[in-house]
Symmetry: C2
Subunit: 273 residues, 2 copies
C-alpha cells in the first residue's frame, strides 16, 4: 500500500523535496497551496501524513505553522532538513539585462537580498518559489524571472540565469512530518510542547525550571500571540529527550502543573544537517 501524504506548495517546492527525502518509497504526494490546507487534508481518512516547513535557519519560524499546530489535533512525528539553494530562473531567451521584474516568496527575497540589491528590478511577492517559476513559464516573457529551486527549473523548462544567489550557503529549512497519532520509539530524541503561563512575575521562569532541575537541554523557544488577549503568549519549546525516560516524564508532569495550558506536540527523531 502506498502512503497518501499532503505537502505544502506545488510540485517542485522544497516541501515536496522534504517529503521525498523522508518517505523515499511508495508515496502518493498530494499538494496544497495553503499551510492550513495541508492540515485540512489530514482530516480525510485516507491521508496518512502531512509535510510543512516550520523554520528556516536564516529567516526564522514560519509563524502560521506554529499557530496551526496548536489549533489542529495532529502530532509531530518526524523532521527533515532541506538545504535551500536559490537560483534566478527565466525563459530561454532572457538575459540579466532583459529582466525587469522578479517573482518569488517573500522569504526568498530576504535570503537573496545582497544579490537583488545589485539590480533595479521590481520585486513581486508570490505564493511560493515554485509557483513563481510556474508563473514565469506561463507568461513566457523575457522581462520576468523567478527565484526558485533547481527542481523547479527542470519541471518548468526554465534556464538558470544566475545560480546559488542566496547569500548564506548554510541556509537550511526544517520541515516537520505531521501524523494522526504519536509514533514514539527508542530512536525519538526530541520533544516539542506548547504552553501558556499565568501573567505574573516569574511565571515563565517557573514553567522552565524543570529543564534545569532535570538537566534537560532546551533547543528552542518560540512565542506566538494569544490572539484575543493582547501581549499574552503561547510558548513553544523544543528540548532533547524521550518520553520513556523517567526524568523526562517528571519534567513534563511538573510543566503541566505549572502551566495554565499545556500540550505535547510530539516526540520524534531529530534530523541532522
Amino acid at each position: 500500500m502506498s502512503l497518501n501524504i499532503a505537502y505544502y506548495g506545488v510540485p517542485g517546492s522544497f516541501s515536496e523535496q522534504a517529503l521525498l527525502d523522508y518517505f523515499p518509497n511508495n508515496v502518493n504526494p498530494i499538494n496544497n497551496e495553503k499551510f492550513e490546507g495541508v492540515f485540512k487534508e489530514l482530516e480525510k481518512d485516507d491521508v496518512h501524513y502531512g509535510v510543512v516547513p516550520i523554520e528556516n535557519s536564516s529567516t526564522g519560524p514560519v509563524s502560521e505553522i506554529y499557530d496551526l499546530l496548536n489549533t489542529y489535533p495532529y502530532h509531530i512525528v518526524g523532521e527533515v532538513f532541506v538545504k535551500v539553494e536559490h537560483h534566478l530562473l527565466a525563459t530561454k531567451d532572457a538575459t540579466l539585462e532583459s529582466i525587469q521584474e522578479v517573482y518569488s516568496h517573500p522569504q526568498a527575497f530576504e535570503q537573496c537580498r545582497p544579490f537583488l540589491d545589485q539590480y533595479n528590478w521590481s520585486i513581486v511577492p508570490h505564493f511560493s518559489t515554485a509557483s513563481s517559476a510556474e508563473h514565469v513559464k506561463n507568461s513566457n516573457n523575457p522581462k520576468i524571472a523567478s527565484i526558485s529551486s533547481k527542481k523547479a527549473a527542470e519541471l518548468y523548462g526554465l534556464q538558470v540565469l544566475a545560480p546559488n544567489i542566496n547569500y548564506n550557503t548554510t541556509n537550511t529549512t526544517r520541515f516537520i512530518i505531521l501524523g494522526k497519532s504519536h509514533k514514539i520509539n527508542s530512536s525519538c530524541n526530541k520533544i516539542s510542547v506548547v504552553f501558556t503561563t499565568e501573567h505574573k512575575a516569574g511565571a515563565l521562569y517557573s514553567a522552565l525550571k524543570s529543564f534545569s532541575e532535570y538537566n534537560i537541554n532546551m533547543l528552542k523557544i518560540e512565542s506566538r500571540p494569544v490572539v484575543h488577549t493582547p501581549w499574552q503568549y503561547y510558548f513553544y519549546i523544543d528540548f532533547e529527550g524521550n518520553l520513556d525516560n523517567p526524568s523526562i516524564k517528571k519534567a513534563i508532569n511538573s510543566m503541566e502543573n505549572d502551566c495554565v495550558y499545556f500540550k505535547l506536540l510530539g516526540n520524534y527523531k531529530s534530523a541532522t544537517l
Copy 2:
C-alpha cells in the same frame, strides 16, 4: 525647532499614526517604504527619531525589525500602541459584487481571513495597507479593492465598501521609537535586551535565572536565528524595570556574565492599551 522623524510606510500608514500619537506637535515626518530605510535615515545628523512596528497582538512579531535592532546601533526610547481597524476600500463606483482582486499587506490578509473567506477574490500581496489604497486610487478600477485604514480612505478619496473587517476587535500593533542615545528617566519601566548563550544543556535557563532571583517580571521572549549558524538563536527579552534600580543593575550584570553576547536595547516607558 521641529523634530525630523523617519517612519515606515507611506502617508496614511499605521506607522504615521503611531508617530503623530507619540509626537503630537512640531514634527516633520519622513516616510520610508523599507524597514531598513528607517534605520538608514537615522544615520543622517538631522534625523532625530525613527518609528517602526515591532509586534501585532494577533499575528506576532515583525521579525525583520528584531534583526535590525541587533544590527544597527540605535536604542528603543519609547513605545506606542495603535489599534488596528481594517476596512475594505474601493473607488466610488465599486460594489462588493464588482470586486475581483484585493490588495494589501500579507499581515492584513491574515487579520481579515474570515471576511475574505466569504468571497472568491484574488488576494494580491502589496507593500503596505496604505500603498494598496494608493494603488486602488491610481488604477481607478472598480474591480479592485484594498484593505487599509480609514485614514488611507480619506487620503486617497476611496469609499469604505465594508468597515471593520478584521476578525479580532482587540487587534493592536505595538510601535517602537528609535533614538540615537538612551533616554532614561524615572518614568521608564520597561527594558529590552538581546543575547546569545552557549549551545549547551541549561544555558538559556541559566541566562534567565536572574529574573527569578531578583523577582523581575519577564514580559516577552522572542528568538531569532543566528544567520550563519543553523539552529542557534538570539533571544530578545522584554522585562519590567528601571536601570536605576539596584536589583535591575545586578540582574543585568549577571545576565551579561552568563551570555556569550549581550546588548541593552533600551529602557523606556511602557505604553498602555
